[in-house]
């Protein structure tokens, strides 16, 4: 009788362990990517296929909606990970570039009838332009002061948007932004929007992967590691930091444009410090210095926030607590050494079982 209980226990344990081990195969491990392996491997194909096929398999509308949002967050996280994870800087105002992109698209498409495809690229340019302006003086700062300055910029942007109602619709924002369309094909359902956004994201991943394994990628890492060493081999540190900042802003601009074209509205509440914090969390939880981690973290956090929203007014405190816990337990990223931790966990269970056995 006792043996039966133990056997069941063992089977359940095994099931959990196998499930978790499979999960660890799927979750991107920043340490692995960190090892500078840039060849396209089977795992990359697996990710690509699953991204392409999952919405067809799972056709729940809410799921599609969330994945659309997750994709947008993913683009944001990718942009910021170049600046934070590779170049080693910090920005707490990234949501401002998202907002600039969204408003640019909103204004161009609703007031001037610009086709969304054009507005898309213009948004990226506008965001890059502002990043260029703001970056030159700000990037001389380091550490907390850079964080503070970017935060300041984000807040100023928010104030400006709220006050210039003529241009931006003030606190109310802009409505009825047309859906994204190319040559007559309109992306009006969540499914179509999913492929649009994840298509853009995949393209951006290719771009970044190339960038990161080229001399520019090394330049970013060099600047993060030792500015003196980098400049001693001829790297223009200021220009590199600015480049990472501008590219990150361009990505955010693209994300903002897609957001406006998908959600059909743009209003100031979306581009707050909370969003900036969220994007930074995605980069940190994804693990600094890799590309897939922040995307996985974007998916994870988007779903988590949605899951929490059913708790109404408790959602924010719980969210905050979870953030702090994640930071304490996964400062290097959730996927880091996940397999090692799982092995440790499994061995802990094993020891527990053995102890129970002895007692009987």
């Amino acid at each position: 009788m006792v043996d039966q209980v133990h056997k069941e226990f063992r089977k359940r344990d095994l099931l959990y362990s196998v499930a978790l081990w499979l999960l660890s195969l799927i979750i991107p491990d920043p340490q692995l990517h960190y090892r500078r392996e840039y060849r396209f491997r089977k795992r990359d194909l697996f990710y690509l296929l699953s991204i392409l096929l999952i919405p067809l398999v799972w056709s729940d509308l809410h799921f599609h909606h969330l994945m659309v949002l997750a994709g947008i967050h993913g683009i944001l996280a990718l942009g910021l990970t170049l600046f934070m994870g590779y170049a080693g800087q910090i920005s707490l105002g990234h949501a401002a570039f998202f907002g600039i992109g969204a408003y640019t698209t909103a204004i161009l498409t609703t007031r001037y009838g610009v086709p969304s495809f054009l507005a898309f690229w213009t948004s990226a340019l506008t965001a890059s332009f502002f990043a260029f302006l703001i970056g030159r003086p700000i990037l001389k700062l380091k550490g907390y002061f850079l964080a503070l300055a970017t935060l300041g910029f984000g807040e100023i942007f928010l104030v400006l948007v709220r006050e210039s109602s003529g241009l931006t619709g003030g606190v109310i924002g802009i409505f009825n932004i047309p859906f994204f369309s190319i040559a007559g094909f309109m992306f009006d359902t969540y499914l179509k929007q999913y492929y649009l956004i994840w298509g853009v994201l995949i393209g951006l991943v290719f771009f970044l992967k190339n960038l990161v394994r080229s001399k520019m990628g090394r330049a970013f890492l060099a600047v993060a590691s030792s500015e003196d060493g980098a400049s001693s081999v001829g790297i223009d540190v200021a220009r590199i930091k600015l480049g990472a900042f501008v590219i990150g802003a361009a990505f955010a601009g693209l994300a903002g444009s897609l957001f406006a074209s998908v959600m059909s509205t743009a209003n100031p509440e979306i581009f707050s410090l909370n969003l900036s914090v969220l994007i930074v969390m995605m980069v940190i939880l994804g693990g600094m210095g890799n590309l897939y981690g922040p995307i996985a973290a974007a998916i994870f956090l988007t779903f988590m926030i949605d899951g929490l929203s059913r708790y109404q007014e408790y959602s924010l405190p719980v969210y905050g607590v979870i953030l702090i816990l994640l930071l304490i337990f996964f400062p290097d990223g959730i996927g880091t050494r996940l397999r090692v931790r799982l092995i440790y966990l499994i061995s802990y269970w094993g020891r527990k079982r053995r102890r129970e056995k002895v007692e009987f």
Binding site: R213, A219, S232
Partner: protein
């Protein structure tokens, strides 16, 4: 005159770190820079490599004025440098450190690299080959895939030198290349430096290791309290009473 410093003055918050220092380095020679700790040697290197600006005085390299230029511009002109506190890139692999050294010689801009056209791909492959050859010269080839932070202290110093060389500088500033090394490691460094000199590279090094300086330097300059107190061939300078006094007093 290959490297020329004229009347260099540098103050830090009221403390005069360098007081009207003038010296020259001839092309193709090895010059030593010595002096007790705090004499201003590293400060001088900072000024030459552009990390600081002198308060007055001029620096010329290959006949061109480089005073006030920024570090990466000076690197582009052909001045390389290693640091007293090793400044390798611990977040990259060994080979990537050397590849970064070749930054100026590899093709590609921010946007073009993102698209990785075939000409960039070829450039990267060639660079990788060359980088591995450089690592071979420094005995680091076996560890090319390791992360730079995983190397031992001596290996890291070698890596920093390899990286500085991969930029193909004409003048190399070495800040205490033998510091913290064991006797055989230091001997290896001295040999490497002699070989480099034979290839025509001009070396300017800060070093406390009397023996090493005697062996490889053609000329030595000695600083004390921000002032140049002696300059000339090593065995002459070694016997200069002011030099002896400076070292004895500080020690």
């Amino acid at each position: 005159m290959f490297l020329l410093l004229e009347e260099i003055v540098k103050n830090y918050d009221g403390l005069r770190a360098l007081n009207r220092v003038s010296l020259q380095v001839r092309k193709g020679t090895v010059k030593g820079l010595m002096g007790p700790n705090g004499a201003g040697k590293t400060t001088l290197f900072h000024l030459i490599s552009g990390m600081e600006r002198p308060d007055s005085g001029r620096i010329q390299f290959k006949g061109k004025e480089i005073t006030g230029l920024r570090t990466h511009e000076i690197a582009r002109i052909g001045v390389g440098r290693t640091f007293q506190t090793i400044q390798i890139f611990g977040n990259m692999t060994v080979v990537e450190n050397v590849l970064t050294g070749m930054h100026l010689r590899i093709k590609g801009g921010l946007l073009s690299s993102g698209f990785y056209p075939p000409w960039i791909k070829r450039g990267e492959e060639e660079a990788m080959k060359e980088a591995k050859e450089i690592l071979e010269l420094f005995g680091l080839f076996g560890r090319w895939k390791w992360f730079a932070s995983q190397l031992s202290y001596g290996e890291q110093k070698r890596l920093e030198m390899a990286r500085a060389l991969s930029a193909r500088p004409e003048l190399l500033l070495l800040d205490e290349p033998a510091a913290g090394l064991t006797y055989p490691e230091a001997k290896q460094v001295a040999e490497t430096l002699s070989r480099l000199k034979e290839t025509g590279l001009t070396l300017f090094l800060i070093e406390h290791h009397m023996g090493m300086v005697m062996e490889i330097a053609d000329e030595v300059a000695v600083l004390n309290n921000g002032q140049l107190i002696a300059e000339g061939p090593p065995d002459v300078v070694k016997r200069d009473p002011r030099v002896i006094e400076a070292y004895l007093l500080k020690k």
